[in-house]
Symmetry: C2
Subunit: 293 residues, 2 copies
Amino acid sequence: MSDGEIAVSDLADASLDVFAAHAHEQPLVRVRLDVSYDGTDFSGWAVQPGQRTVQGVLQDALSTALRVPPLTLTVAGRTDAGVHATGQVAHGDLPADVWAGASGRLVHKLSGILPRDVRVAAVTQVPDTFDARFGALWRRYVYRISDAEGGIEPLQRRQVLAWRRPLDVAAMSAAAAPLVGLHDFVAFCRRRAGASTIRTLESLDITRTEGEIVCTVQADAFCRSMVRSLVGALIAVGEGRRPVEWPAELLSYDTRCDDVGVAPAHGLTLVEVRYPPDDQLHLRAAQARARRG
Amino acid sequence: MSDGEIAVSDLADASLDVFAAHAHEQPLVRVRLDVSYDGTDFSGWAVQPGQRTVQGVLQDALSTALRVPPLTLTVAGRTDAGVHATGQVAHGDLPADVWAGASGRLVHKLSGILPRDVRVAAVTQVPDTFDARFGALWRRYVYRISDAEGGIEPLQRRQVLAWRRPLDVAAMSAAAAPLVGLHDFVAFCRRRAGASTIRTLESLDITRTEGEIVCTVQADAFCRSMVRSLVGALIAVGEGRRPVEWPAELLSYDTRCDDVGVAPAHGLTLVEVRYPPDDQLHLRAAQARARRG
């Protein structure tokens, strides 16, 4: 996924989304959607022609529920194909009269329209300065791995990576510690033209509970494939294929490191996105745009 | 499911399973298997001709892993089609030399043979007096329901029942309390000829956490469809369709009550089976057989 980069195709996101059919008639209100999905059968978040995507399914469901033309959603974390979410956040703009008429029953109505692998837990009106993508203070992802001898707990198999060899969690934790902080993570990122790969990694914790290893990672934003590359590097350490110091050494690279494996998508879940209080929303969005441009 | 009844077809289970190919050659050892499965794509536990069942898949996998003819497994809870397990227990008998040669790597080997919806977490040698079915002190099942306005959390949808109307958990708990104890649960059971429907319900707790309602039920054993019928009756109370006193009134019935709905299979998971210490195993099995015959 890519949480905070600006590319040419995204410039439209930075301006207030305009709801074409009503733009000249009446004011818009901004709404925040709290979204969960099982990423297994989606080609990721972002709309792509001919693909089933979370954004596409959600935009169509909103259009059906509200009887309006499709609107464009902006999201906190543009997850890749196969990545899940339990705490995804998106925003969109609706004509005020449409929102006023629908808000009370919209969540219930959407649950009857949406397929069972995507869910809207809440829709709430937010200030016009709320930006799901650039306004976020931080994103938190969880990556789950099982190295249990008997394999993955069957009911968890869609969201946990099976690893056939035992992993040394103490070594993984030691390797993770120096990655925390403000660094250029280009070695762990798929480069996009004009986008910064400097990020503040706020925490990277690895814990083991009953054969399941949980990597919890929090940052102001992530570049494309960054979490899965961090996990890939830590797995190499956990298996003993690389020394504990190796992931930190990669922070001095000035280009993508092809020795870093990208862990499979299905182990990854976006679990939470945090925003500042309403009166600081505009400051945060301006700061994020400036820093990551 | 049916956890403790004796029918004509089951009489063979009560004697020590005999491993045909080796029976006259050498001693057998009894092994306990700790098993989990996602019941979605299984026609229940018990082998049925032409159906994919957990017992059938497990017995075939053991036969492949050990290079022996198929053996018969005896299980703690014979779950119905669609019911899941995270703490199922089974036993079987193996020739001592086969066990001696395979025990160290059997769990790992099975994880490479079994499909991803069933898992053996452990295989351990137990006394000959261990009986997964009649030796159990109690079974614990969990039934999960979500009445959240936005629907079920997508990653949980295979194991949680979606309920579109809000449920009153306090009313459900009040209705559940008088069901605990020694009763004839025939109103909640599918009758089988010659089988008792008297059971000791040790606990039936209903809790709510963030839009998910969890019913945890523990008994010495359960008759067929008993847990799902108990949950069906409690849902009727939770919705306000039946008074709080109704489920307890059904304890005076002497036949199955057709007004009790059977809750769908996929909300149900067998989570734990408890056995006595080794030196009391034979007493428990004899007691259970006598009581439920």
